[in-house]
Each structure stands twice: as C-alpha cells, then as structure tokens.
C-alpha cells in the first residue's frame, strides 16, 4: 500500500530524510520512531503528496508521489502534527468542509465520522471551545471521513488524556483490521509497541525496521536472568559451560546468554545448584522497546 524506494528530501543543504526504503502493507500498522528532527514529519508530507522528494520514489495506494500527487491525495488520510482546524467554525462545519473537498457527497459520512470519534454531541460547538484532545479527535475524523486506504498519522495521541489516547489506539487497531495501511509517527514507545506490527527507527536514515520482538532479539540476543538469594561474586567465572556465550552478575542477578534457552536452561540451573547457588527465580530477560530505541539512536550517535 505504501512503498518507498530510496526516498530522500533535502532542505537546501540540510538532509532531512536520506535513502529511506520501507513498505507498509494493507492491514499493517508501521510505527515510525525517531528523535526530534529525525525526518518523520518530512516523510509523512512526502507520502501525502505535499512535498516533492529530492530523490527516490514512493508508491502510495498505487500511485507515484512524484508523478501523480493529485491521485495520491484523495486516497490518503492525514493527521498532521498540528490539527489545523478552523477555530471559528463549528465541529460539523469543519468536517463538512473537508468532506466536500474530498468529494464526499453524503452528509451521513460526516455524522458517522463524528460518532466514530465521539464528537457527535459537540458537533454544533465552535472548535475554539474544544480542548486539545477533542481537537485531535476531530483531526482524526477528518482523516477518516473519505474512508482512505492509507492513513498517515503524525503523533495522533499527543496531548490526549490516557483514556482518550486508549480510545484512539483502539480505534486505530480496528482501522488496521479493515485492511488499511497505517503509518504512525509517535514518541510514545508503549503505544508503538502495543499498536504497531512493525517499527521503523528513523534518524535521517533508517536505522532499523522489524517487529518489536524481532528488534529486541536482533539487538540484544536472548538472555536469561537468574535471581539468586544473595550476591555470589565470581560465579560467572566458574560456570564453565560450553553453551554459555556470556554471563555477568549485577548484585544478586545473574545474566546469562545461552545458545538455546529451551534446551540449555535446565543444564544451566543444575550447574548453578551444583555450585551452591540458591535460586529464587529464572526468567527470560524482558527488553523494553525503549532500550531498543535508545540503543539504536545512541549507537548511531557514537558511530
């Protein structure tokens, strides 16, 4: 649904996005993560047919953004960084206006979109009187009103209270089930982990892309954490097992990378008991997406 090939955008001398190659399939949510200034918004704008790439190409809903941006735009729903609503007009007037520009003739679509984001009761109020979160929801309704196959969302839950953010997330999950391709830019890693099938980490260049679990395994390998009753200095050095790739101790926690946890964990535990260790828990180490993200972004800075 979305495919980019070596997508690049420069602003004068500055390179905002470099050689980005990505794919988002129908029914998939791809999270685009990256520090401030990483080029997320620039990417969204290029995919929405708003900014021309300096090099490379992107296919969105079957059309090239460089050749036919006017065919891309009607097939894409965008929630920009700033909701950009007409404050003097009412909620319904705002949505009607955009619906008509997208060629949606049926006024029922407007009402449906309002109901979908829970704004039906406030439809007659001027946008100026809405809170930030409600405006964000209206921006989402605007992106959905023409039922586009591709959704580009630039931080759609920023500024929402936890409950509203959850509602938006549930809504997004539903929308992806309806075979839409969704690109979600966010700084909220928990949100990305919960919602996105795959994650792309961008910092001008693409640093990594994959399912959250895949990225964790690729970056850190799988490690076992053995919690001991008390610290046992020197223990890693005397383990002496062929399948242990590395072992380290942090207080009473022993971190061990083994080749195949399913086969080797029992052997590891037996060996530890032989060595006189008192074991409280044995579990697989849970890496957070935050660690993955920081590793990638900081690793890139070091390089």
């Amino acid at each position: 649904m979305i495919q980019t090939l070596g997508l690049t955008r420069r602003y004068g001398e500055r390179v905002a996005v470099e050689d980005l190659t990505l794919e988002v399939k129908a029914g998939e949510v791809l999270g685009l993560l990256g520090p401030n200034g990483a080029g997320k918004t620039t990417t969204v704008r290029m995919l929405a047919g708003l900014l021309a790439p300096s090099a490379g190409e992107a296919y969105v809903a079957g059309h090239r953004v460089t050749r036919e941006p006017e065919k891309v735009r009607p097939r894409v729903g965008v929630v920009p960084e700033n909701p950009g609503l007409y404050k003097r007009l009412t909620v319904r007037q705002n949505l009607r206006f955009f619906a008509e520009l997208y060629g949606v003739g049926d006024p029922r679509r407007v009402e449906e979109a309002l109901a979908l984001v829970g704004l039906a009761e406030r439809a007659e109020e001027p946008v100026a009187t809405l809170s930030k979160g409600l405006r964000q929801r209206l921006a989402l309704a605007r992106a959905l009103v023409h039922d586009p196959p591709v959704l580009l969302l630039d931080e759609p839950t920023s500024g929402l209270d936890p409950e509203a953010a959850k509602e938006v997330r549930d809504l997004l999950a539903e929308l992806s089930l309806a075979h839409r391709a969704i690109l979600l830019c966010t700084h909220n890693l928990a949100e990305a982990e919960r919602l996105c099938h795959r994650i792309a980490v961008l910092k001008t260049r693409l640093l990594a892309v994959g399912a959250p679990a895949e990225l964790k395994a690729r970056l850190f390998g799988r490690r076992i954490v053995v919690t001991l009753a008390r610290p046992a200095p020197g223990l890693p050095q005397v383990l002496n097992l062929p399948f242990v790739r590395s072992a380290s101790l942090d207080g009473a926690k022993l971190f061990v990378a083994v080749e195949e946890p399913e086969r080797h964990n029992p052997l590891l535990v037996r060996r530890l008991v032989e060595l006189g260790a008192e074991i409280l828990y044995v579990e697989e180490e849970e890496r957070t997406l935050e660690e993955v993200y920081l590793e990638l972004v900081e690793g890139d800075r070091a390089a």
Binding site: R73, G84, Y86, F98
Partner: protein
C-alpha cells in the same frame, strides 16, 4: 465545485471576524452616506456646479472596491497561517490553482456586490433628493464605466496585493498595514478626477483600465507562483 466549497467556507469564517464585518457592512454604508450627503448639500446649486460635485462623490465608490478586498484578502491568508490550517487543506485534492482562485474570489466578489449595491442605493437617494432628478451629463458613460468597468480590476488588484503580502509577512498586523499599498491604483484616478473635475473622459478610463489590467496580469503570475504547495509549506511562516 471544490472552488465553491472553499469560497463558502471562507465567507462563513471571515464574516465571524469583527474587523471584517466592520469593513464589509459599515464602510459601504458610510461611503454611500458621504456621497449622498455631498449631493444633498449641493442640491440648490446650479446644474453646471453639480457636475463636479457628482464627480467627487463618485470617488467614494472607487475606494470601496479596493478597501474591501484588501481586508478580506489579508484575513483569508493570515487566518489559515495562524490557525495552521494550510497543511490539512493542502492534503486535500484541492489544486494549487483552485486554492489561489478561491482565495481571490473570496475577496473580489463581496467587494463588487457591495460597491454596486450601495451605488444603487446612492442613485435612488439622489433621485429623491434632487428636485430635477440627476443633472444632465453627469451619469455619463465614463462615469458608469469607472464604477462598473474599473472596479473589478481594482478589486482584483487589491485582493492579489493583500494575499501576496500576507503570504510573506510573519506578522498579521504588518500584513494588514502593508496591504494598504493596494490603494495606490485608486490614488491615480483620485488625483486626476479632483484636478480635472468634470473631465472624466473615456480616454482616461481606458488608460486607467490598461494600467490595472497590466498590474493584475503581473500579480496573477506572481500569485500562481507563490500559491504552490511546496512554497506554502516550506516558505510561508
């Protein structure tokens, strides 16, 4: 179709701004009032003195087609910039040209309707005030051509100047003040009309019309260049 949707949205929005309402509702009535008052004052003058009076009154109707579009043009661009609505607007299938034409029409159409509307009111009032009706030779062809022929080009000029200035100005008040430049083309007839009084002839109207058309064409060219998606997203701040 999309053009119409855009224009109707703009009006719905603009007429909620007090400053805009003031210049669109109050100014036309004020101008027609001034013009009417001048004629009323001179109602007992001999007919040959009434001609110059009418000429001076005419000028009020040449200020309106510049003033109204300048106000509307500034607000319709500044409003989008300040509310950050340009990006979602540009993400719709609206074409660059539709956006540009839409914004121009938003400013030009009310200006012309209001100018001609209050001009009609003024003529009606004159018919009542003057015992002998409108004096011979006053409602001449050049006179009518000024009101009906020149004003569309003046309105377009003012709208384009206002839109271009506010697309570049970072401050809306500055934009509003600079847009006052749009009165320059009416200063020309103002000076000529008041210097030569009755002698508003066809040659003069044609000359002024020619200048306005040339200015409008140049501004349309600049406007189409300025109202491109990339330009708007990257350079309008």
């Amino acid at each position: 179709m999309r053009l119409r949707v855009l224009v109707l949205k703009e009006w719905a929005e603009l007429f909620r701004i007090k400053m805009v309402l003031y210049s669109c509702a109050f100014m036309p009535l004020l101008m027609a009032g001034f013009a009417g008052f001048m004629v009323w004052q001179g109602r007992t003058l001999p007919p040959e003195a009434q001609g110059p009076l009418f000429n001076a009154a005419l000028l009020y109707f040449l200020i309106l087609p510049v003033m109204i579009p300048a106000t509307l043009g500034v607000y319709s661009v500044v409003g989008e910039k300040e509310q950050g609505t340009l990006e979602p607007l540009l993400a719709t299938p609206l074409s660059d040209l539709e956006l540009f034409l839409g914004k121009s029409l938003v400013a030009v159409i009310p200006a012309l309707l209001l100018t001609w509307g209050v001009f009609g009111l003024f003529l009606l009032a004159v018919l009542f005030m003057m015992p002998g009706g409108i004096p011979e030779g006053v409602l001449s062809l050049p006179w009518l051509l000024s009101i009906f022929g020149l004003s569309p080009f003046m309105a377009l000029f003012a709208a384009l100047v206002a839109m271009l200035i506010s697309s570049r100005a970072s401050d809306s008040r500055a934009a509003y003040q600079f847009a006052g430049l749009a009165v320059v083309p009416v200063l020309v007839p103002l000076i000529v009309y008041s210097a030569r009084l009755l002698a508003v002839d066809l040659r003069f109207v044609a000359l002024e019309g020619g200048i306005l058309v040339a200015l409008d064409v140049a501004l349309l060219y600049l406007g189409i260049k300025a109202f491109r998606r990339e330009e708007i997203l990257i350079r309008w701040k």
